[in-house]
């Protein structure tokens, strides 16, 4: 069947739209870590967009930032979206403490060096901070 050559760009645009629209059905985390069990308080989840969280390695570094934070239950990172989802015990901790942990100094495991300002929270639950 003869077709117009214009069908080619139409198909290209359709494929791009399909890819962009269909991405959400393939969502999967880059990294996940579970921490200590809940202390019995209300369990909540907060979503941070973090400047500096851009790959699996940096996602692991962010996970390390929560090691010393009581009340953190689960951390899930989506590096391609620069996103960190943190589930926590609301009776023990809250978004402000979690943000402080993310933005705190980072100890590089390989070199032992301390790095400041490696991660910056850009938004919290969709609300832009900076």
């Amino acid at each position: 069947m003869r077709v117009s050559p214009w069908v080619v760009p139409v198909l290209v645009v359709l494929a791009a739209a399909l890819g962009i629209g269909g991405a959400r059905f393939l969502a999967a985390p880059s990294f996940t870590r579970d921490y200590a069990a809940a202390g019995g308080g209300r369990v909540e989840t907060v979503r941070f967009v973090v400047r500096g969280l851009k790959c699996v390695d940096t996602a692991k570094q962010v996970a390390g930032q929560f090691e010393e934070v009581p009340g953190v239950l689960r951390y899930v990172a989506y590096a391609s979206r620069n996103e960190a989802q943190v589930t926590y015990d609301a009776a023990i901790t809250g978004p402000r403490a979690l943000r402080a942990a993310i933005e705190g100094p980072v100890v590089d495991e390989a070199s032992g060096q301390i790095r400041f300002h490696q991660f910056q929270v850009v938004s919290l639950d969709g609300v832009v901070i900076r």
Partner: protein
């Protein structure tokens, strides 16, 4: 027919420039800290690189994500219909190579140098080991190891992560090679191109040459950036066809080359 194809070619050029500009802007915005998302996010090859990690661990490699994978799957679907149209309509590396091809093409449509068909066919297999090495190391390490060598990333990341001085040397070599051999990167080295190749060979949109209308001038073959002998058969079956439609734009005989949607052959 000729005027319509010209408009089409102009549209294609516009789309190529727009995609390249968007990719460059995204790279600069990321480099300047104005944005968190770079150009990698939209690279379908990243989807292939992370496919193994997704299938085995339901997670993504390095900075790759669901958008890369979804765009890769959509690209496979597109290729099954419209051949490697992505390469000539969207891919910024393909665009740059094609612009070089246009610059070096001599009057009358002759190419600076077209490798003999046997050499050309043999060299195209080079893409397979390139693809195998990239996938092996990406799947082994979980890192996007190709970044520093990837012309797309080097071109558009505004000196992004893992781009070193030698990366620019590679980019310069790739572009210089394109001056000597048309579309050298796409033909002989592109790992995404070789991935799409078998799907493209099955692609249903095909250019058909009607012999009764053809003047046998072979302008179509000379116009093909990928060195396909369009005039040598009645149908372009090559998996290398990118549906750039340069051949039909160059054809002086109305209706001699037509795009057709073919059903599966028995």
């Amino acid at each position: 027919m000729a005027r319509r194809v010209s408009t089409l070619q102009l549209s294609r050029l516009t789309l190529q420039i727009a995609v390249a500009a968007v990719a460059l802007t995204a790279g600069v915005r990321l480099a300047r800290g104005w944005s968190l998302a770079g150009v990698e996010k939209y690279c379908p090859f990243g989807g292939l690189e992370t496919a193994w990690s997704f299938v085995t661990h339901r997670s993504f490699s390095c900075a790759a994500g669901e958008l890369n994978l979804a765009l890769f799957l959509a690209l496979l679907g597109l290729t099954l219909v419209a051949r490697k149209a992505f390469c000539s309509w969207v891919c910024p590396v393909g665009s740059v190579n094609e612009w070089i091809f246009r610059l070096v093409r001599r009057p009358g449509g002759r190419l600076p140098w077209e490798p003999p068909p046997g050499v050309d066919r043999a060299l195209r297999w080079l893409r397979l080991p390139v693809l195998a090495v990239i996938l092996f190391f990406t799947w082994q390490t979980g890192e996007l190891v190709f970044r520093g060598y990837d012309p797309y990333y080097i071109l558009t990341s505004a000196h992004g992560h893992e781009v070193k001085l030698w990366s620019y040397a590679i980019l310069a070599a790739v572009l210089a090679l394109g001056v000597v051999i048309p579309m050298a990167w796409c033909r002989y080295l592109c790992p995404l191109g070789v991935t799409l190749w078998p799907f493209s060979a099955l692609g249903r949109l095909r250019l058909r040459r009607t012999e009764s209308r053809c003047t046998a001038c072979a302008a179509c073959s000379r116009a093909c950036p990928h060195g396909i002998d369009v005039a040598g058969g009645t149908e372009v079956r090559s998996g290398e066809c990118t549906l750039c439609l340069e051949c039909s734009a160059a054809c002086p005989a109305a209706g001699a080359l037509e795009l057709r949607l073919e059903g599966p052959k028995p």
